[in-house]
Symmetry: C2
Subunit: 343 residues, 2 copies
């Protein structure tokens, strides 16, 4: 049985979570990673060394790496003193490899060899550009970090774009073309997910692809960014940039988080922060909703060294539950045949 | 035939050269590395992060690493811009591993795994101390970097010492105890070689060891440091710190460097910069002199990425010629038996 080609699209901890689960299955795994990040250690490296943002790629490499616990801790290690303060060692590792090998993509390829990565990690672009977001009331937010830390209402967004315009990495396009399953999200909607679809040849590749497309809808809305959005809103937003109703399946969590977590979030986020699904809203929706319990519930899914190790105090996806569902969807035809044979 | 246990003692490019040659032989190789360095990137990391000096260890790890050319280039890569300017990636790698694993020695052990090192690299101590040199005319030079860049006459040295007093790494002591052959030098006499022997339990271990001791005498004297020293002076200096005439063999180059190199050195170093051997000076010397052609003569012995890649414009040891001689000495008993059997 040939391994299914699964391609994830995202960035940051959302991709880390997803890949940590999916790598336990016999699948051919590729992670396409957003390149909009310009905050923290990544931002300093972009400014000072003129490199592309390493942070999100680093997290995906760690997720897929078969190397030792120490190497994983090393990649996530942040210097705490002096001129190196705040720099993640893994970011320095990727930036040095970019400098040596002449391009960020080639640097990432070298990193995959060194770290013994199961699958591949592909930056969505090899070009350097800044993310901008304009609102209908005339604000222009410049850079992913500024957008991430600004408040705007989702109804007031006029435009989100890269400047200068950028093209997708050819390897990313090839990967989309050959994919059996494309998995989008979860992740920060405006800062990690949408930036991938703003690259027009990348969206075109998804529009034309024959893959099944699964969207893992976020569990909670982000205050000042996506307040009040429901599942259809998220799906419409992504399909809008793809230019076609390409999303076939949406995973949607129906299990209520613990009372403790709910109270914690209510204090910070206010009333209705869980993403809703309104069945009456759109009787003609093109996607199938996969309802289930997708939240992390006290299980230890990560090593001590991993970025999500202290994740239990947040409402988070369970990487194992989500990965199992995605694997089932990817193998659904095979299961159909087995069922037919038994019948 | 059991592999001979060869232990090298030194630091910096001298050890790099020696190990690059020795690793081509079927020997059990350990590199004990001086921990006095406090200049450049290493000095900044010592000051700002409170780590032990990674620079010399890095060079030995690269020499013994079986990993790819890219990984070797990466370890030697120096950042060129911003707050990271001047830092060697390999130094950051070792400093982060020290922070994660809790001690420099354990960090180096992790590095050996990650880099697939053939043999082992052992810092001579795990304790932090500064090197001092006092002259008879009342100067006190403080720190390896200051000593390295100061002028003093070798006849005027009153005292060289670490403050605070430090103990040797236990692994280094064990290694000396079990060694078949101990190889000292070449290297910067006051900054890379002697600092090892200033650690009293380390010198005691060598004094008591049953190993053959080979000393690779430097080819040239260092202006303002070792002007006019001959082979016996170097040997006496090291034996003095060991507390016994422990050096059994001394390799001594008799091949004159090219006219071009001689003229270049004469301009910078003045007249008699080549280290001399004066057979009449000491008829009772305890060591055997191994005379030979030990200099690099236009051969390419290193990869493009290596620290010694551009070594041809200096008077340097040939790593291949020196390693061959050391291997022959280490196996001399076996050769004797073979010769006896033939006779």
């Amino acid at each position: 049985m040939k391994k299914k080609k699964i391609v994830t699209i995202g960035g940051g901890t959302g991709s880390f979570m997803l890949l940590s689960g999916l790598k336990k299955y016999q699948v051919d795994l590729s992670a396409i990673v957003s390149m909009a990040d310009d905050g923290g250690s990544t931002g300093v490296l972009r400014d000072e060394l003129g490199v592309l943002p390493p942070g999100d790629v680093r997290q995906c490499l760690v997720a897929l790496s078969d190397s030792s616990e120490t190497l994983r801790r090393l990649l996530n290690y942040r210097f705490e003193e002096g001129g190196l303060k705040g720099h993640s060692f893994g970011n320095l590792f990727l930036s040095a490899l970019e400098k040596i090998s002449g391009s960020f993509s080639r640097g990432v390829e070298e990193a995959m060899h060194i770290l013994n990565v199961r699958g591949q990690v592909i930056p969505v672009t090899d070009q350097d550009a800044k993310l901008y977001l304009e609102t209908t009331d005339g604000c222009i937010f410049s850079g992913e970090n500024e957008i991430n830390h600004s408040d705007f209402s989702p109804g007031k967004i006029k435009k989100i774009y890269f400047n200068p315009k950028i093209k997708a990495n050819k390897k990313a396009l090839k990967c989309i073309k050959e994919a059996d399953v494309i998995v989008i999200g979860p992740g920060n909607h405006f800062c990690s997910i949408l930036p991938n679809f703003l690259i027009s040849d990348f969206s075109e590749a998804i529009r034309k692809s024959k893959a099944k497309v699964i969207y893992n809808c976020n569990l909670t809305n982000k205050k000042g960014h996506t307040d009040g959005l429901d599942v259809d809103d998220y799906v419409d937003s992504i399909n809008g940039f793809i230019g076609k109703d390409r999303i076939d399946y949406v995973t949607f969590n129906v299990k209520k988080p613990s009372r403790e977590l709910m109270e914690k979030y209510e204090k910070i986020e206010g009333g209705r922060f869980l993403v809703d699904f309104n069945v009456q809203k759109n009787p003609n929706r093109k996607y199938k909703l996969i309802k289930g319990n997708f939240i992390l519930n006290g299980e230890a899914e990560y090593g001590k060294a991993d970025a999500l190790a202290k994740t239990r105090s947040f409402i988070r996806h369970s990487s194992n539950k989500l990965a199992k569902t995605i694997f089932m969807v990817s193998e659904i035809e095979n299961y159909k045949n087995i069922i037919k044979e038994i019948l």
